[in-house]
């Protein structure tokens, strides 16, 4: 069991923007009811929204040793069907108004606007006894590659985060991120452990209703990816009257030094706390944080390891670098390093493959005071408006409709090189499949996709083709 809800009794655990609320006592009772219906070790796909139904089902599954996979409500339905085909879940937990989409299932139970649909599968694959939760490595490309998190991973990360953020039951965080995203989920995990009240909203920062809800419910903290902070700046956040707001946290990608500095200055001037943090789904959620007291003198830094964790920096030969400010691969060690990946149903039976050590794929350096800075990436992964995008997976996805293509790019700008001309169709396709705004993609025509003898794409050759034109 992850959480012991009954100790907080009548305290409100979550309240939504529609006015629906649930106490810790009710969360506990809901868990008991779910426990009577489902077998332990059932696999449940949860189609997530920031609502009471989504939250209460999820906590019930986790607490009853059923294994949830959290998926974005907006996930393209053919990608969702593929995931169902690969992993054969016993149940689906979906918003009631979407249940008609899932033909061939039987509605066994409903509550708080969600329903539990029984599929035709029955424990198709054995689950490793310590496996607690499955998250997608990339919510939007619908990759079947999942991260396997253990109960110990989840518990360890919860207690580290509560300790350094100093969370208690007076907190009232507002949801700004989807709960199927590891960072959004960690906000929920930690605040339920602290006995706080979570403000659930499906509205975005661009909507008046979001800000009305934030003010009327007295939100105390706000979590954002770098793109959230860009939006906040555009919304002239610095001039807003938000008396209840005490804490801002940032993770999910590298914040620009300009935004880091602006928000750090704002926090200092207004007596708030601003935390810059670093994590990955592969580390449950969090690996490091920059203590708010140092946020102004360590601009651009991801801080220091969380309590219970440690970092090392390795050179190309795998030897540890101890000289300050030398760049190498960042390696993390801690109890929150997840078990490993799953790419097919049989993998769910696998045990711990990482042994508490995670090669992050990020390049980093450590300054003489022991603060870490990300210097680049080893893996071909970028962020589009906060969504993690694997460039190789994107190429794979595009090959459904084009013969050949190559993807490169930087954060918020993915370049797709193709030889064909049907660029509008391609743009519509990729935006639909990923659910990401088309402005994040640029399509470029090249004469050919350069490859080496082994058939690997020569990415540098793409840019030189563009240079010639």
């Amino acid at each position: 069991m992850i959480w012991i809800f009954d100790k907080f009794k009548q305290k409100i655990a979550a309240i939504s923007d529609t006015g629906e609320s649930i106490t810790y006592d009710q969360l506990n009772k809901f868990g008991e009811r779910i426990g009577c219906i489902l077998k332990e070790r059932s696999l449940v796909f949860c189609v997530c929204t920031n609502t009471v139904g989504s939250l209460s089902g999820y906590t019930a599954f986790l607490n009853n040793r059923m294994v949830p996979l959290l998926l974005d409500m907006k996930l393209d339905r053919t990608l969702l069907a593929r995931l169902i085909h690969i992993y054969k879940p016993d149940y689906l937990w979906v918003p009631q108004d979407l249940s008609f989409e899932f033909t061939g299932t039987v509605n066994e139970f409903s509550g708080y606007g969600y329903c539990l649909l029984k599929t035709s599968f029955d424990q198709a694959y054995p689950l490793y006894e310590q496996l607690g939760l499955l998250l997608s490595t990339s919510g939007s490309t619908g990759s079947p590659k999942l991260v396997r998190q253990s109960y110990e991973n989840i518990k360890a990360n919860i207690s580290s985060i509560i300790a350094y953020l100093e969370l208690d039951s007076a907190e009232r965080p507002i949801t700004t991120l989807p709960m199927n995203f590891t960072y959004g989920l960690s906000v929920i995990h930690t605040h339920l452990e602290a006995g706080a009240t979570i403000l659930l909203t499906t509205k975005t920062l661009m909507q008046k209703e979001f800000w009305t809800f934030l003010r009327s419910q007295g939100a105390t903290s706000l979590a954002g990816v770098p793109y959230t902070y860009e939006i906040l700046k555009r919304l002239r956040f610095f001039d807003m009257e938000l008396p209840g707001l005490k804490t801002l946290t940032q993770a999910g990608g590298k914040l620009s030094t300009e935004l880091h500095e602006r928000f750090a200055q704002y926090a200092q001037k207004t007596g708030r706390r601003f935390y810059v943090m670093y994590g990955q789904t592969e580390a449950t959620a969090r690996m490091s944080y920059l203590p708010y007291q140092r946020v102004l003198d360590k601009i651009g830094s991801i801080g220091i390891p969380i309590p219970g964790g440690s970092f090392s920096i390795l050179d190309d030969c795998g030897k540890e670098i101890s000289v300050p400010d030398s760049v190498g691969e960042l390696v993390y060690q801690g109890k929150n390093v997840t078990l490993g990946y799953a790419e097919r149903g049989e993998d769910l039976a696998k045990g711990d493959e990482n042994g508490g050590i995670l090669f992050t794929g990020d390049l980093a350096r450590r300054d003489k005071d022991g603060y870490y800075y990300i210097a680049g990436r080893k893996k071909r992964i970028i962020k589009l408006f906060g969504n993690r995008i694997n460039l190789d997976e994107t190429e794979h996805l595009l090959k459904e409709i084009v013969e050949d293509c190559a993807c490169t790019g930087e954060d918020n700008h993915l370049l797709i090189y193709v030889t064909g001309n049907d660029h509008n169709r391609l743009l519509r396709f990729i935006s639909e499949k990923t659910g990401i705004n088309p402005s994040g993609f640029e399509i470029r025509k090249v004469d050919y996709i350069p490859r080496n003898e082994a058939g690997k794409i020569l990415y540098s050759g793409l840019e030189s083709q563009m240079g010639v034109k």
Binding site: T204, Q207, L235
Partner: protein, 79 residues
């Protein structure tokens, strides 16, 4: 170009849609008009009409029609 044409063109350009179509667009009524698209739309409008919108107006800009009312406050008349 009239203000109305200019206004409709910003929607068409930002969301990559047919300029004759916009009529009853609302926030999240098409997938292009999400939070990312919204920032692009506001930037386009601010540039085209040389204005700086208040936060309350940016977050209240929930449809093509609503936008016309909001722009009146900035002396931009669209009809």
């Amino acid at each position: 170009m009239t203000n109305l044409e200019r206004y409709l063109n910003i929607f068409a350009d930002t969301f990559g849609i047919d300029p004759s179509k916009p009529a009853d667009l609302e926030y999240q009524s098409i997938k292009e008009w999400d939070s990312v698209g919204h920032m692009g739309l506001i930037a386009g409008i601010e540039d085209a009409f040389h204005i700086m919108m208040d936060t309350d107006d940016i977050i209240d800009f929930s449809s093509l029609e609503k936008g016309k009312q909001i722009l009146r406050k900035y002396d931009v008349i669209i009809d």
